[in-house]
Symmetry: C2
Subunit: 222 residues, 2 copies
């Protein structure tokens, strides 16, 4: 994307009622919506996050399928989720928000037990061993997710990376967490929820065109 | 391999002094070499296993590199390791044995702390979630390995499977075991021991020809 186009999108994001762009310092000092997202949405519906939402395909897709839940896509790349924010506004989906900040801060963005469900969609697998600390399902991230999830809250991981799929399954098994469902090739096997099969991200479409299997894990943190 | 050739190899295995082919019942009832492999080799040198040894490339290769250790390749497919056994005899390597039995029985084959090191080379990754119990680095297998390894004993996993590599790393991290070294592409990164880079199995050569990265983990069970 050209930098001119990017600047235009940044500007437009500022005018979007469904986009929240806090400064890092403000998040760390005590974020105004932490524990208080009901005030943003004007209701107490369950909150579903997409972490690393990219263009926001999952956030918008899930919001279309579930009008009785609030959906928040989080990403640091505002020019990307501009697409999802714009679509949500055009379709008058008032159960959608996009939050421009770092995923590492997720436990500063939501109160304890404020979140019902988390989606992690096609994250960077961080395949190098030294990159373990940046992998979005490592033990540190799992602890952050646990803090903000309500008891029994669900985490979904959809990825084309066999490495990421394997690492997460092994870690969950080692830590004794509950694996609700796991599949190494969801489009060729039964049992995946409709949300997994009916929503495709931009990258997922490319993987599918190249015949790459898509994996999926649904789990709980004990 | 034709069945005629297989039969010939089975027959020849029976005449090889370096091949041991116990009946399953005899292994379960109390295997004669369990805790007593020094009597087989005629010395108390450290014992190194290759689990699922195939043609025995690693067993023979490691034995060539380390004359002061005893090397045992284990596999149920006797017609395959015939190759390694034959080579070891031709080269007069008296620190090599091949053991025809099921890997699941490994803790019935060796006494407590009798083994110094284990190699798992290009195992079936068992990528389906329901096959977890057959994966050679699952928690049940790790407990078997722990029983027969001496304190501080080392396990090596070499595989082309990103899934197997990831699963094992995640599991080890979750269980709190010690990862000594891990790499997602050993031929393109520094730090792997010479044994990892200088010995190639039959399948590994095919993977390398196809440009597939080879992964490696060296670890200890606490």
């Amino acid at each position: 994307m050209g930098s001119k186009n990017k600047l235009k999108r940044f500007k437009e994001n500022e005018t979007f009622a469904n986009v929240v762009q806090p400064a890092r310092e403000d998040v760390l000092a005590g974020f105004k919506y932490k524990g208080n997202w009901a005030s943003f949405f004007g209701n107490y519906n369950p909150i579903v996050l997409e972490l690393g939402c990219g263009k926001g395909e999952y956030t918008v897709g899930l919001a279309q399928m579930n009008a009785d839940r609030n959906h928040i896509g989080i990403d640091i790349k505002g020019a990307r989720f501009w697409r999802g924010a714009k679509t949500a506004l055009e379709q008058e989906l008032n159960n959608v928000a996009f939050l421009r900040t770092q995923i590492e801060l997720v436990d500063h963005l939501f109160g304890e037990g404020e979140v019902s469900e988390i989606w992690i969609t096609f994250p960077d697998p961080q395949i190098k061993y030294k990159r373990t600390k940046h992998r979005m399902t490592n033990p540190v991230f799992l602890e952050r997710y646990k803090k903000i999830l309500k008891p029994g809250g669900i985490i979904n991981l959809k990825t084309d990376s066999e490495y990421m799929h394997g690492y997460t399954l092994g870690l969950l098994q080692g830590l004794g967490h509950e694996i609700i469902y796991a599949n190494h090739d969801v489009y060729k096997n039964e049992g995946a929820p409709p949300e997994v099969l009916e929503i495709q991200t931009f990258y997922e479409n490319q993987y599918l065109e190249n015949g790459k299997p898509i994996t999926y894990i649904q789990f709980r943190i004990n």
